[in-house]
């Protein structure tokens, strides 16, 4: 499986974490002091990399969580059809179709970067 185990204390804004079995990117991280009883806790807010859904978790800082290993790859646009683009990976020359993000304007031969995790891909 393309994921590794880490402690909550090792997470930070901008890094990834699995929540509800979905890879998420962290955009907020805050901690609470432990007091005389209990342990220090961290709260993580993150957004699903592929489904864009906001999620949060609150755990002791020494709790273990899964961190997805998301690969960042280079690709080239082969063709554009409506909201989809056909992309060729520049390392493997494999081609596949991806949804074009709303704010992107892609043309054939444009070079792009995309994220890949267990068969899911997203242009960044």
């Amino acid at each position: 499986m393309a994921k590794e185990q880490k402690q909550v204390r090792e997470l930070q804004e901008g890094s990834y974490v699995m929540m509800e079995e979905k890879p998420c990117k962290i955009y907020a991280y805050s901690t609470a002091k432990p007091g005389k009883h209990g342990s220090a806790k961290a709260r993580v807010e993150a957004r699903g990399v592929f489904d864009d859904k906001k999620r949060s978790l609150s755990q002791p800082v020494d709790a273990k969580v899964w961190v997805p290993i998301i690969e960042r790859k280079q690709g080239q646009v082969v063709s554009v059809t409506g909201e989809d683009a056909q992309i060729m990976d520049l390392e493997t020359y494999q081609t596949f179709t991806m949804l074009i993000p709303d704010d992107e304007d892609l043309n054939p031969e444009d070079e792009i970067e995309y994220l890949e995790y267990e068969g899911q891909r997203k242009i960044v």
Binding site: A32, K33, K54
Partner: protein
């Protein structure tokens, strides 16, 4: 647990969070005991509300307990805001039990309202108090200047510094003096509203258990009527500045205002 707040978190429409912050209280401290005191003095209230014909235990209120406070207001506020946001994301209305008024920053951060309605004896428009920007005496200023709220309506305010009164003259602030509160009616369209009830808006005769008492205040019925009127528009609520230095008057008023809020809000949803 707040009496009657028996719903599980997963199905809750209202989530109570205790925020016993007590670090900048400038005169009589004790707000660290506020949340539990409010819960305690809610024990004697009937489950049934005749006006709205509802039972409190039917309204899916969950008590998430207290978020333990430590002596760093910005850090604590950030942490507390996270809990508030969790409730908002689950389509529940957060209800914060203070704690000094500073905790309202977390409520507003989590709810992100357009309008801030506040029952308060004080303008709380200071930029800082004793050099502290996170003092309880600065909360309405923080809400306006730092938390992107468009408008503040301060009901029952009767004291402030010259600088605060000057800030209050800006277009984004409406001050309703105590004598005019009974005739005030909310006028909101689709705006998201956050309602904060500082218990010192009430006359000290009604709520002596608070840190900075200010006579010539509101009656408990005037407080109640504001809560009833604003609740239907409101996405987040808090009641703050209750301490343990009375025989339970301030805490029972706070508990009753929270229940009035829930009854009125729930009756509108139906």
């Amino acid at each position: 647990m707040f009496p009657g707040a028996i719903a599980d978190r997963e199905v809750a429409d209202y989530v109570i969070v205790g925020a016993p912050l007590d670090i900048s209280t400038s005169f009589q401290p004790g707000t660290r005991f506020g949340p539990n005191r409010i819960r305690r003095f809610a024990e004697s209230f009937d489950d049934y509300d005749r006006r709205t014909d509802q039972f409190f235990t039917d309204l899916r209120v969950h008590d998430a307990g207290d978020i333990r406070a430590w002596d760093d207001a910005p850090e604590y506020s950030e942490w507390l805001a996270g809990s508030v946001r969790d409730a908002v994301w689950d389509d529940a209305v957060p209800l914060i039990l203070g704690g000094e008024h500073t905790v309202t920053a977390a409520g507003v951060t989590g709810v992100e309202p357009d309008v801030f309605v506040c029952l308060d004896a004080h303008l709380d428009l200071r930029r800082e108090y004793d050099g502290n920007e996170w003092s309880h005496a600065t909360i309405t200023r923080r809400v306006l200047d730092k938390l992107d709220v468009d408008e503040a309506i301060i009901l029952g305010a009767r004291t402030g510094s010259p600088e605060e009164w000057e800030r209050a003259e800006s277009d984004d602030v409406t001050v309703v003096e105590p004598e005019a509160v009974a005739d005030w009616n909310p006028d909101f369209d689709d705006e998201s509203v956050y309602l904060s009830a500082d218990i010192d808006a009430a006359d000290p005769a009604f709520a002596p258990g608070t840190g900075t008492k200010e006579p010539f205040g509101l009656t408990s019925r005037e407080m109640r009527d504001v809560v009833r009127a604003v609740a239907p528009y409101t996405d987040g609520f808090d009641v703050v500045e209750v301490n343990d230095r009375d025989d339970g008057q301030a805490a029972s008023l706070a508990a009753k205002l929270l229940r009035e809020f829930v009854f009125s809000h729930a009756a509108t949803d139906d």
